[in-house]
Amino acid sequence: MSERVTKNRYKYFAVIQDSSKPPHSETVIFINRSGRTDPDTGFIEQPICKGIEPNGNGFYVIDTAGDFAKEKEAALSRVVAKGIAPVIGPFDTIESAIIAEREKRPKTKDEQLVLAKQENAELRKKLATREDSKRV
């Protein structure tokens, strides 16, 4: 099977995780079309309604080489633009999506503790430097 793997093949939309709320696993409908007969070809098109949902890691991933890629990106971009759902993007790489999500999401108590400890350590270092300089 031939692969159509390209450098920027995927687009990622990240769900900002919040452990205090039910998981956000909303399906976003990207195409919702009534059945019709194509006026040019006479082909009958079945009605269609399809949605995209986040994977187990909380990312909506669009394969730009796949079907309905433009529709998927447009629908998810509208979700982001509205700013109500905890969704950000699009990102070209999973890494940038993860970094952006980490920055945006509310910190858990454990993370807050780690950050506080880091800050504490840095302040102690600064204080130690100042005391040393005073002694000199």
């Binding site: 099977m1 692969e3 793997v5 093949r9 995927y10 039910p22 998981p23 956000h24 696993s25 909303e26 399906t27 976003v28 409908i29 990207f30 195409i31 919702n32 079309r33 009534s34 059945g35 079945q46 009605p47 269609i48 309604c49 399809k50 949605g51 994977n55 187990g56 890691n57 990312f59 991933v61 394969d63 796949g66 529709e71 447009a74 629908a75 998810l76 509208r78 979700v79 759902a85 999973i94």
Partner: protein, 393 residues
């Protein structure tokens, strides 16, 4: 001094105080019933009385059957990137539904060798990596272990049930009047009776809305402060099947309903017939479906059809319209599917929602107070069997 009327006396010349107002006895109530789902949800199952403000329950789900590729793994690779590697175990057959290729799990538990990946072998060759590169979003099925002759039995694994909870909330509403007001003559039914009826209706209307949109919470104002609870509604309970229709133009069609139904019917615990509660937009759309199929003649005096049931490819759906889900109330875009076998209304035993009449102090003989008081909650079982659609235009 007398007031003189000259000529024939007209009605406007009669002393005003002498003319009674002709008032119809009946008073029309615009909103005497506004609690569609509050009523409906009590018909599915009897209210359950519990002895705590917190209701806990457990649910068991099937062990996950699939993982999804979240990064590309190149051909010949042995570390396949997936979202939940921990679901896969040694010697299980892994089937890539896109490429049609089988892999053989080559570590006790996925993620053991490298975070975020499963270590696999080429199942056909029994050695080496995968033949075809994976793509992001590939769905891999986790199939049974393929046992080698004489090999030891595989390590055991299982998963735990889910522990769920919700809070009941207590709600009060007070109405009052004086004895003079009660004893004064009025047209029509006494205002006291009207107030008692209407404030019950209003409270039920509020409760009806919370059954849809309530978000449960236990507020503690301080470490020793009182607790205030709020209840959880359908919107907050449903997480798996929450579907946003608002980002793609298009009508609410039968396939659109089918997309919701399909999800709620994909588990064996599902009821055969689901119940669909329509907001204004979905109700209008559904009602218009048969219009194009109705043939009429000049002799017909009515036209159209009001549907009560929809037959979809994924099962039957009994539908109804809640007029609280309309544009006036900002919820016209909602369409909810509930599984009637898994909707349980809750109340605190001894604190059922009821009306207490004349709650005033015995010494306060001039004032009269009635209170609606009670507790309510909603437990939605197996949330995968229900769906919350919104953004329907």
């Amino acid at each position: 001094m007398a007031t003189i009327v000259t000529g024939n006396v007209r009605t406007d010349q009669v002393l005003a105080a002498k003319v009674p107002v002709w008032m119809r006895e009946k008073i029309a109530l615009l909103d005497a019933e506004r609690a569609f789902f509050e009523y409906l949800s009590r018909q599915f199952k009897k209210m359950e009385s519990i002895e705590s403000m917190k209701f806990e329950f457990m649910e068991m789900r099937a062990f996950p059957f699939i993982v999804t590729c979240d990064e590309i793994t190149a051909a010949a690779g042995t570390e396949v990137h997936v979202d939940h590697p921990e679901y896969c175990h040694r010697d299980q057959l892994i089937y890539n539904t896109r490429t049609g290729e089988f892999y053989l799990m080559n570590e006790d538990i996925g993620g053991g060798s490298t975070d975020g990946t499963i270590t696999v072998l080429n199942q056909v060759a029994g050695t080496g990596g995968i033949t075809t590169a994976t793509a992001v979003n590939d769905i891999l099925q986790i199939l049974p272990e393929a046992h080698a002759e004489g090999e030891a039995i595989p390590p055991a694994f299982s998963h735990k049930p889910t522990n769920l909870f919700t809070y009941l909330f207590q709600h009060d509403r007070t109405r009052g009047n004086t004895d003079v007001q009660r004893l004064s003559r009025e047209y029509g039914p006494k205002q006291l009776l009207l107030d008692r009826k209407q404030f019950w209706v209003d409270e039920m209307r509020g409760l009806n809305m919370l059954l849809y949109i309530g978000e449960h919470n236990r507020e503690v104002t301080s470490a020793t402060g009182p607790r205030r609870h709020s209840m959880r509604g359908l919107k907050n309970w449903i997480s798996t099947n929450k579907i946003n229709y608002g980002e793609a133009p298009g009508l609410f069609t039968l396939p659109a309903v089918g997309e919701l139904m399909r999800r709620t019917k994909s588990h064996s615990a599902s009821s055969d017939t689901k119940v669909g509660i329509c907001g204004q937009n979905s109700w209008t759309a559904i009602s218009s479906w048969p219009s194009s199929a109705i043939r009429t003649t000049v002799g017909e005096t009515s036209w159209g059809k009001r549907l009560k049931s929809i037959v979809t490819a994924y099962g039957n759906l009994a539908i109804g319209y809640d007029n609280m889900l309309e544009a006036t109330y900002g919820l016209d875009d909602i369409f909810v599917i509930v599984d009637p076998a898994h909707v349980q209304r809750l109340q605190l035993k001894g604190a059922e929602t009821h009306l207490v009449l004349n709650t005033e102090d015995n010494s306060d003989i001039h004032n009269q107070k009635d209170v609606i008081t009670g507790t309510d909650g909603l437990a939605l079982g197996l949330q995968e069997l229900h769906a919350w659609g919104y953004g329907i235009t």
